[in-house]
Symmetry: C2
Subunit: 320 residues, 2 copies
């Protein structure tokens, strides 16, 4: 199968987005931006043995390649619209590609994303997705907008994906039923798009947690020039992880493990009811875990007894 | 050096594009599209030993990674505006990165491109650029717009990059002075942005030649549902290649070699003077090489004696 046969067979799918004037198959796609909206752009590159195991199921791989990008749109409060997929593939193996593409398009459809372009090339398994989202003009949940006195919130539960990864690495072993729950989150994180959009009117800073709560919240603090105080025991996780892991392992997963793709965000205290309502309306649990304080970028974490929690690592470093 | 130090040191550069509301460093960049314009999107992935040699100079590599994307904008008649760069890097080596980034930003500046985002990760040397360009609403040089009777034109000279590559592969040997001229084109192809924009009012179909004239013109023919007749001896190339190569090697480079990133385009015969003027105004040589005829996607090439030219390969296949 040649490249162009492949593209034709798997990637040209009927698309119904009237703002896409020219889709896959030319030198470039052409879209018409809607009046009154800004556009958000984000790219993520995923490489074999770095971001996924070589033996990952093609459907899980496709899901994750796109989901992590959709998550960046959620973190801005944007609606994802269009995506470009570049793929390095060792060969064009039809059943693998069919599963990959079916999963990719299923997720795209669920989030209203149209695939408008990309590139394919022979090479080691490697992916890049660029995603484009829409935001009402002048609105965006930025990293640099946290203010002293804001509450700090997270969506969902943290530490599950990291716990699954540690189980793979045999740092520790989880009971099968717990591993299954965690592995599901690691393979199929749920982008919090509806929550991000519901928060847009009143949340201040936001970011998705891909590299660990401590590190990703740290970016908000540094960009905003503030400190935060968070309470380790308030950070929501899977109860079975609390039961099965010692405190060091638990905090490592919950506070410094990445890959859950939940949101961490800040909002004024006066908006607590609105945040809870945004969570309800979007079907996403939200939990208040601390507050923004005066400072210059430090994150202070305390345990149930009020003692400082010191983490061995703040989170994933892309070059370590 | 950690990832975020790297990003801060090399990629956060003062940018002056007032339409970029939020640049590198958040979950996503935010731009404000201008009223009256459509946006074009294109992505290209470049992998080690597939698209570039491992020992390539970082400045040449950076140039090419961005230039091939800018070339896609040229082929649409668009003005390149914003780019996202994803890079897999085996390590963060400062002098290498400094040279890479200086070259990248120099080219970006020359074409008015602002780097607004991307991703960096440890891995085998791999790059993806997504580029975004602007087009006056409803205009674009598409592949499917060629009409019977149109002239077929190319910009610049073809076959130089392929000849340099064959010299590297030792398929044949070029004299040093000829190799130098060809290698320069292979490493630093000139995106034909000014020409593409100048052609916008009257050219019909266009595409950049990355995989070889025969294959890339073939895409126009298939998309437009027409044939073309071109004259091998009319296709401009470096005179020294005509002198140094036998016909098979010469035609292989000129007609089926890729990587020159010149434009092939069609325009009505009534616009010949306008095309020549667009070439002059943009400082780009343009040459008429044939015409569009009735048919269903076939390219017919004839030599000086009017005999059909049969190519061993139509051009680069990304999966061969």
């Amino acid at each position: 199968m040649k490249e162009f046969d492949f593209i034709r067979r798997y990637l040209y799918r009927a698309q119904t987005d009237a703002d896409v004037l020219l889709g896959i198959g030319d030198d470039a796609a052409v879209v018409r931006p809607r009046a009154g909206y800004d556009l958000c752009f984000s790219s993520d590159m995923l490489l074999k043995n770095r971001h996924f195991f070589e033996n990952v199921a093609p459907a899980d791989l496709a899901y994750k390649v796109l989901a992590v990008n959709i998550s960046d749109m959620a973190a801005m409060g944007a609606a994802p619209r269009w995506a470009l997929l570049s793929a390095g593939l060792p060969q064009l193996q039809e059943s693998w590609l069919a599963e990959f593409c079916d999963s990719l398009f299923a997720l795209a459809r669920r989030f209203g994303v149209t695939l408008i372009g990309g590139d394919t090339t022979k090479g080691d398994l490697a992916f890049n997705v660029t995603i484009v989202g829409e935001l009402p003009q002048g609105r965006a949940l930025r990293r640099d907008a946290a203010q002293i006195g804001d509450d700090v919130w997270v969506s969902g539960r943290l530490g599950l994906a990291a716990a699954a990864l540690h189980h793979h690495w045999q740092t520790f072993a989880l009971p099968d039923s717990v591993f299954d729950l965690c592995e599901r989150v690691r393979l199929r994180p749920e982008p919090r798009v509806a929550l991000g959009q519901a928060l847009l009117p009143f949340a201040r800073a936001a970011q998705d947690i891909s590299d660990g709560l401590a590190q990703d919240l740290g970016h908000i603090l540094q960009a905003s020039g503030v400190d935060a105080e968070i309470f380790a025991e308030e950070v929501p996780t899977l109860p079975q992880l609390r039961d099965n892991l010692d405190k060091t392992a638990l905090y490592g997963c919950v506070l410094a493990g990445g890959d859950d793709y939940e949101l961490v965000f800040t909002a004024p205290q006066s908006c607590r009811a609105a945040v809870l309502e945004a969570g309800r309306a979007s079907g996403t649990p939200v939990t208040r875990i601390g507050r923004i304080t005066e400072g210059c970028g430090r994150l202070n974490i305390s345990d149930a007894a009020g003692r400082p929690v010191v983490l061995a690592s703040l989170g994933f470093d892309h070059f370590e």
